[in-house]
Amino acid sequence: MKQNLKNARRSPWSAIAVILAGLILTGSGFAAATASTSAASESPYTAGQVEQGHKLFLSNCASCHGKNAEGTANGPSLYGVGAASVLFQVETGRMPGAISGPQLEVKPVQFKQPEIDAMAAWVASLAPGPAAPTAAYLAQKGDASRGGQIFRINCAMCHNAVGAGGALTGGKYAPALTNTSAAHIYEAMITGPQNMPVFSNSDLTLADKTDIITYLQAVQTNPSIGGFDLGNLGPVVEGLFMWIFMLGGLVLITMWLGAKSN
């Protein structure tokens, strides 16, 4: 038996057999891997959710986005915006929009979570688009300092270096990120809501996004060593504080010095 095995190993067929075995292994492994990823990118929603979502859409959203989500003059098409966009817009209360203005405001959430998920399911069923983030990206286990570097290059000009927000043109503004959940930060980057540019995964990789989320959560818990941070809004606020309270105080002291005693 042992001798047979030895002979078999020396046979020219053995090399072919080994290569074949290797090919089959890697091939089926790859197939399994791609099957699992395509399963993951396949809709995680049930047919019932899609149907419920469609009904909710028709009664709540179709007036602006059109009966088939094709978009109207008052609202964009929702083809390809993905579940991530629905979750971001509805879970933060931005959608359904109350009035048309420079920018949709954050307001109390108008739907229950299962309803939001159902609408996301229906919109995701229309055309491929960014899906909801998986927990791994939101665990804030990234590199906060690298995240800070990426944030300062890509995000800080609008959202402020520590995410305190800032003004844009014509009454628009970049909101503060101090109370934004990790999932909403992710969804905003991947979908580019309203005037925010899209930061696709080919622009900021998933690792970049994880690092940014980690950074934003880290700066929230970071103590302000310099004392009162005045909302982290930067030199304008700090200058105003100095003008009003410091110079004002000096003026009052000067007036006291010059006044006669009662």
Binding site: M157, G166, L168, T169, P197, V198, S200, D203, P223, G227
Partner: protein
């Protein structure tokens, strides 16, 4: 006598002597109001108030003593641990507050003392004459003459002239250091690192960008190929900063239908992907606040707003020129590359910039 008929006043009838260039002020225009009437203070009228004021002054001095002791305690009592910024902050903050209140207590106490308890009768004290008496002036001249004679300042020509020379040369080194304002930067303000064929790289990772990576509505912060490598060595780090401050680029993809491109710039973009200098033409801040729906680019420093779809023309704010466009195309592997350097100097105006 004034000529009432045509309203003219003859010079000899004028109330003032007119002279060329010097106005004459009427000395009696305003009457001296004198010292205002004396107001008697509460502390002069009532012993109770006087004692209260005395207690307040002493209280302020005691507050100063307590603050100084507090400052000493803060220095020794609040331990500083290396790398613990909180402990350093507390130590320095409370030491400083103690010293500040120590001084403030003395100052406010002294002023309060003077205002409430010291005599407050108004007195006027005339200034003494500015001009000295004739004797004083004569004595001063005598001293100067004597000094001249004893030092030999007028007599010793060599010493005097060499002193003049020394005094004349002494300020020259102060002027020479203005050389540090130069030398002229030559062409370095007119060119950037961009060159034909250089790949557009992501900032800060320095990875190349494929045209297919850039979706509509996406913004990429871009540096030229090779810049990230400069930053990795300490020797070239400063060079990296200098180059990045000129070569930073914002890459955006918009719907090609909304791009208003001049005929000569038709081939500067690639399927709606456009690249513009990130350096504001006003004073050089990084312009990167991109609004994807309005395709406006806003500079955060002075609110200059550029329309990215219309060749980055200024639509609001103090900037006077559009942002320079970087001509781009793709190479055979699909990576975005520069067609050339910017065709005009980037950033704010400078002394010999043409137009």
């Amino acid at each position: 006598m004034s000529d009432k008929k045509n309203g003219l006043v003859k010079p000899e009838d004028a109330e003032f002597d007119y002279s060329a260039g010097l106005a004459k002020v009427d000395a009696d225009k305003f009457a001296d109001p004198g010292i205002e009437p004396h107001r008697v203070r509460m502390t002069d009228k009532s012993v109770k108030h006087e004692k209260a004021a005395a207690r307040q002054v002493a209280g302020l001095f005691l507050f100063s003593i307590a603050s100084s002791i507090f400052a000493i305690w803060a220095y020794f009592g609040i331990k500083v641990y290396s790398f613990d910024l909180n402990s350093i902050r507390s130590n320095v903050l409370f030491l400083g507050l103690g010293i500040a209140f120590g001084m403030l207590g003395i100052g406010i106490g002294a002023v309060h003392w003077a205002k409430t308890l010291m005599p407050d009768a108004e007195v006027s004290e005339a200034r003494h004459q500015t001009r000295g008496s004739e004797e004083t002036r004569a004595a001063a001249i005598e001293v100067i003459n004597l000094a001249n004679e004893e030092s030999g300042f007028s007599r010793r020509k060599l010493i005097r002239r060499s002193l003049y020379g020394a005094l004349a040369l002494f300020p020259i080194p102060g002027l020479v250091i203005f050389r540090d304002l130069g030398p002229n930067p030559g062409d370095s303000l007119k060119h950037t690192m961009w060159a034909p064929g250089l790949k557009l790289m992501r900032d800060p990772s320095g990875t190349p960008i494929k045209a297919t990576d850039v979706q509509v509505g996406t913004v990429f912060h871009v540096i030229p190929e090779g810049l990230a490598e400069l930053g990795q060595s300490e020797a070239t780090y400063d060079e990296m900063i200098a180059q990045k401050s000129k070569a930073a680029v914002l890459l955006v993809r918009v719907d090609p239908a909304i791009l208003m491109e001049a005929p000569e710039r038709k081939d500067w973009s690639y399927q709606g992907i456009v690249a513009y200098s990130k350096i504001c033409t006003h004073v050089g801040c990084p312009v990167a606040l991109y609004e994807q729906q309005t395709h406006h680019l806003l500079c955060p420093c002075h609110q200059s707003t550029f329309d990215l779809a219309d060749a980055c023309k200024v639509i609001f704010g103090p900037a006077s020129r559009p942002l320079p466009q970087l001509p781009i195309t793709v190479d055979k592997d699909g990576y975005l590359i520069a067609r050339s350097d910017f065709t005009e100097p980037v950033g704010p105006s400078f002394w010999d910039r043409k137009a």
